[in-house]
Symmetry: C2
Subunit: 409 residues, 2 copies
């Protein structure tokens, strides 16, 4: 299938090296021809690590591997392949992870449990890990510190553009860098939507603190985005801190010294998450949903995600129809406290419905113009409390059906 570049695509930014990280991509021929499909990332001795993974109860073997390995809080390498997700492959799946980790560990000189693994692509087929491990020595010999875009391209499946982001943050008076790459959420039958994301910094941060920062950041970013409500079996987000930067020591429990770092990390995660949404299958428009006035923040988030996951809201946006009736429906079906007669809805900054009824004679012209744009803004005020949340999604178009409803090739 020939996929057209998403109209919401952004350019890959210039990513300066992160001290302590070398990476590269190679062609292992796992499934695709004439493109890179295996990525190796080598991390300096002493690198701390944290990860978050899919909540799907049927995760792939690499997710099992990483969940266990990341508990040690240390990492020296990451091996990622595209073309085969190593999901629903039983014992052979675990063995493929172990063999891959052992091969990378030997090259890098570390225990196998300090090698993390991620895979994306078709499922239910045993990963031909010999092809992967055969490619590793040459790949390792050619690692560079400036190959972030190569790495981002090497993990794409049906992504239409490579995804990367970079931020500078201050810890004390020291500037540290945070780089990240991600892939998602294109798909070819019988693939499943998989989201992979790898972030590295040269800051020196204890693994437990890294874990806290990551969970907090993901809650506000990746976990507030959706393309089609289907949670993959492979979602993996790994965060590494090489510790090569010289800055004031970060206490074991974190603290105020990490305030700027935490903000910049959240900002980078949101950047990458939105790039994934921008590359959602068939996406023509990026949708932002701001909920306010909910009874709690948790309730606001559930309502925002209910709207973001509603096929009727998403098809209305595809049709450039500011259909607030469907928004009312999606708010109501969330099952969270809502009072129809206090509900207000704005599209493109224009309040169309207020306190449970249409705003008489509201000016439709700016709303129509807004709906024709690429970025759609929906605001929902429940009028009940102080809970707020934001969610992002894309519209739901014929492109989605084309990509996911085609015959298996």
């Amino acid at each position: 299938m020939d996929l057209q570049l998403s109209p919401l695509a952004v350019h890959f930014p210039a990513l300066a090296p992160v001290d302590g990280v070398r990476l590269g991509a190679a062609e292992a021929g796992i499934r695709y021809r004439d493109r890179t499909d295996v990525v190796l990332m080598e991390l300096a001795a002493g690198t701390t690590a944290a990860g978050v993974f899919t909540t799907n109860r049927c995760p792939g073997a690499p997710v099992d591997w990483c969940r266990s390995a990341v508990k040690g809080g240390r990492a020296r390498a990451v091996v990622i392949n595209a073309g085969n997700a190593n999901v629903f492959t039983g014992r052979a799946g675990h063995e493929a992870c172990a063999a891959t980790a052992a091969a990378a560990a030997e090259l890098v000189g570390c225990p196998a449990k300090q090698v993390l693994i991620a895979s994306t692509g078709v499922i239910g087929e045993v990963l031909p890990h010999e092809k992967l491990t055969a490619a590793l020595p040459a790949l390792h010999a050619n690692l560079r510190d400036d190959a972030w875009e190569d790495a981002a391209r090497g993990i794409m499946t049906t992504d239409t553009f490579p995804k990367g982001a970079t931020r500078l943050a201050r810890i004390g008076e020291t500037e540290v860098r945070i780089n990240g790459i991600a892939k998602g959420s294109g798909m070819i039958a019988p693939d499943m939507a998989t989201m992979l994301c790898f972030v590295a910094t040269d800051a020196k941060i204890p693994a437990a603190v890294l874990d806290t920062l990551l969970r907090k950041g993901v809650g506000r970013t990746f976990n507030c985005t959706t393309v089609d409500s289907d949670t993959s079996t492979s979602d993996t987000l790994l965060l590494f801190a090489t510790g090569t930067a010289k800055h004031p020591r970060v206490p074991a429990k974190g603290g105020p010294v990490l305030r700027d770092f935490g903000q910049k990390l959240d900002d980078l995660l949101l950047d990458l998450a939105l790039q994934v949404v921008r590359d959602g299958e068939g996406a023509q428009k990026l949708i932002r949903i701001d909920v306010s006035g909910a009874t709690t923040g948790r309730s606001a988030r559930r309502i925002a995600m209910s709207v973001a996951n509603s096929p009727l809201v998403k098809t209305a946006v595809a049709g450039e129809d500011a259909n607030w009736g469907r928004i009312v429906m999606a708010v109501g079906k969330a099952g969270e406290p809502a009072d129809r007669d206090r509900l207000s809805i704005a599209v493109g900054g224009v309040w169309m419905a207020r306190d449970g009824g249409v705003v008489p004679g509201y000016d439709e012209a700016p709303v129509v113009a807004h709906m024709r744009g690429r970025e759609i803004h929906i605001e929902i005020d429940l009028g009940l409390g102080r809970g707020t949340a934001t969610a992002w999604t894309c519209d739901f178009t014929h492109g989605y059906i084309d990509i996911n409803g085609s015959y298996r090739s």
Copy 2:
């Protein structure tokens, strides 16, 4: 928009009269031209009533009206209109219900609270109830006992076929009849998917017993179906028992005398629910999902609905692809107990995956042939316990995007 007849359509069955029920349809000109859009159903004195309604927290005014009115357990009339759902209309919405009920009550000779109201169509517009009440006297003068199909046609919005079902049941030695009509789930922007269903029997059953039967029946039928996961603000299912049949008295708490009636009622509700799914927007295939081996029945139902609501599973079926990988994903994302390594999946009766892995060399030919048909059968065995459930849905096609993503006319 010109909607083509669903390829899954079924013929409207011959519905013999239910003693104590007279009905008819008329043109009130609420929104549509040259078609009936208001239906009146008159019920014999002494009719008992029960109802179930949308769980959406932003229900329409008619749902509020019915919830309150049906508490009395008695009904003498139902007024239903198509073209305007009377949702998100504030105080004017309630007043429209009250005025409509008052007008019908005067014609029938009963308290207004014994008139039930249902509306379907555009939302956010005040219902022009004068048009509706103006049509009622002539409509009332022409009520017949054999106009069930007329009534089913009068409540259609973008349904592509009228929906009805009938069953005979025995209470003691007496045969009673159950008739039902339904509408759903076509849609034109800015309508919302609305499901309305009206069922009547000549049996004599206390309202509380009717309510129990209805809730039990709905749990296994309508509540196990989905078209697009979007819960309407108007869903209404009303059940009436005119009590004109002569059969052994039904005790205040029901009991074994109603066993056959309960089974036939469930069967009729399932028939109507599946007709709604068969008319799902853009539906080309009807999908049945049988889950077994779950830890509990409730868990089985959640897993079945997770699969039924998965856009990836539904687009795969549209593409005639027996993509069990997406089924694994949808099982896992339900959040219910599942063990990847005990999971088995069959399509069209052929077990493709067993105990967490592909069945080596399974015969794909019958699966491919099955996927080309109109009725798709998916079986999922979790291998954990004895919980079972069944859900029904339709596939997800370009037709859905056409219907719901078109510009508002």
